[in-house]
Symmetry: D3
Subunit: 138 residues, 6 copies
């Protein structure tokens, strides 16, 4: 049960409806996920969040599926049930095979373990990783 109502198209205000329309067009899909209907209670935040999703998840130096895998990994680390369900579905629809999902999760589990080794033992960083990165060439 969300802390705010999930607004229908009729309940959402004009700005929120415009975002719904853009989501539908961008995704070529008429369905609007609950998270957007919840965010519609704050049209400013809805707009800002959607515009960041649109910009960030578009393919670039990384392809769209790799971005979904990274998104799932963060959602698993952050314990976001909603996000794990919706983005696993999204990744599958973008071509994630079950073998890819298994390997994604294997890395998530491994990093969960080794992160805890480094933190639990308070391992200090090796000198060789302490060199300042160089600025981009002019």
């Amino acid at each position: 049960m969300a802390l705010v109502p999930l607004l229908t198209d009729d309940e959402a205000d004009a700005r929120a409806r415009a975002v719904f329309d853009d989501i539908r067009t961008t995704r070529a899909n008429n369905y609007i996920n609950n998270i957007w209907r919840a965010l519609a209670n704050d049209p400013d935040q809805l707009q800002a969040t959607w515009s960041q999703v649109k910009r960030t998840m578009a393919p670039g130096a990384l392809d769209a599926l790799t971005k979904e895998l990274i998104y799932i990994a963060v959602s698993a680390a952050n314990n976001c049930s909603y996000c794990l369900h919706t983005h696993t579905a999204a990744a599958r629809s973008k071509g994630m095979s079950e073998a890819m999902f298994n390997e994604l999760m294997q890395v998530v589990y491994l990093a969960s373990l080794t992160n805890r080794v480094a933190i639990g033992l308070q391992v200090e960083l090796d000198q060789r990783y302490l060199q300042p990165p160089s600025p981009p060439a002019a």
Copy 2:
């Protein structure tokens, strides 16, 4: 300052030294990171952890660089300073460009935000994501 000594090759016992040797061979690199020298105080755990790293990070349905990106994403979510430094270096040595790193981090930031939207508003999962996945075909 680690909670346990970082064992030199001479201080490590025979089983730990055998793991050090396998790390050197597998990575074609003589350097042993501090995390392994810390784990060498518990040779059983050193062996189990290294064998899991070796198995998990090898290319399969996902290539080795994609696995490093996922690893970095989890390490950022888990706030593991040691892991962020060492795996960013590893990813760069495996071909991660600065554009790729930027996009990786963009997805990490976005998921951090939208995970918090879904959690903060306690958005309930859409019915459509609640279908039981089917078992593999016989």
Copy 3:
């Protein structure tokens, strides 16, 4: 389903019932939340926790509503579903408007993102923030 029974007034022991009574008096409300009925299995901890809640949430240099907002923010960061529901209700009953809730959540989302920027990029603290704070004047 809690890991311990939610004790009714009859099942709770005398010390726990005394805390229930104080909660009822302090809040001018007969209802006892499930968290207190769960804690009643350990009357010492029930008493200690309630006394800390009573002391901490009372208005002081910060008013009672601001304290509820801070409480919600931490509960969102910690992914505590129970706490988000009960304290959002409490904040609304203390006068939190939907506009205030929206802005509270905007800051929670923003901090979730920028915290991850600072951590993900391992940004070192600017020298100017490293000055030791001075002790209070005698």
Copy 4:
């Protein structure tokens, strides 16, 4: 040591420098914090992040100081050392007294404890908090 170089004004590109300029104007302060110099390696993300900070931290239904307190609370929950230092300084410069800081932290500590009670005991939500919130009046 950040994972990317902290770009000086000269090293930053034109878009990043424009953001630096807007930060300086908005804050009436010539100093640019390290987090912005780190983000300048990705001018798109720098611009998006700064525009969200500017929009979100401006006073509205909540005043600017209350927003800083919420920001600090989230940063404490997320263990962001950089953010705790910079935003505690910001809050002090906006009028946070030591008494206010103490009470802020008291609530953060309390919520950390009671969040863990609700989670640790897996307390189920009281029926009364499960009513769907009503949509805004037309």
Copy 5:
């Protein structure tokens, strides 16, 4: 609803079934928990995880019940509902009394609070804890 099917004995492949058999034998109990049926979709990971559980949870310098208590503590800190339920049941079956459970949780709550004090105030480590630990005697 899990993201992968919970495989029955018939749906699991031969390697996964062999792990199921070893779980049954080791625990002298015919029931297989859902987590293993979910992991059975990735027999490699199932095998690796079970072998680590078997090795780690066996009594050694710490007895089996103390290990369960530590496991519950981590699961509470990590907000793992599934793990809290299953391991509290396991600990009770290994002899954890309600008094022990109460004290376990008291420490979990206390550490949640004092961890947040140390982090929230950014308390620097006392010099006396910064001495390097000595390597084991030859």
Copy 6:
């Protein structure tokens, strides 16, 4: 560098000094850890925290060393560097051997991994763990 000054005995007020004295007496040790000197800026919180530490860490159904192990486990999960250093030292002074420390950490690593399996795959709880616990006998 803490966000508040670490108060010397002379800088602390009378109430804080009384807590310092009780710490010294209880621990039969003249040294006061930095965390108490930081908390001394808020004598109420100092007093409340110390009284909870004193009550909780005393032996009861669990012995003092087991409580330290649980404390370390939570501190590792919460990424509290200060707490890991101070409580590992405390546990060693109370008799924790290196073999015990290794096994403690093995369980912490394992739970970090399996918590992430249960969360990452969103495994639903087995029916058998959903029985309501019974209230204590009258």
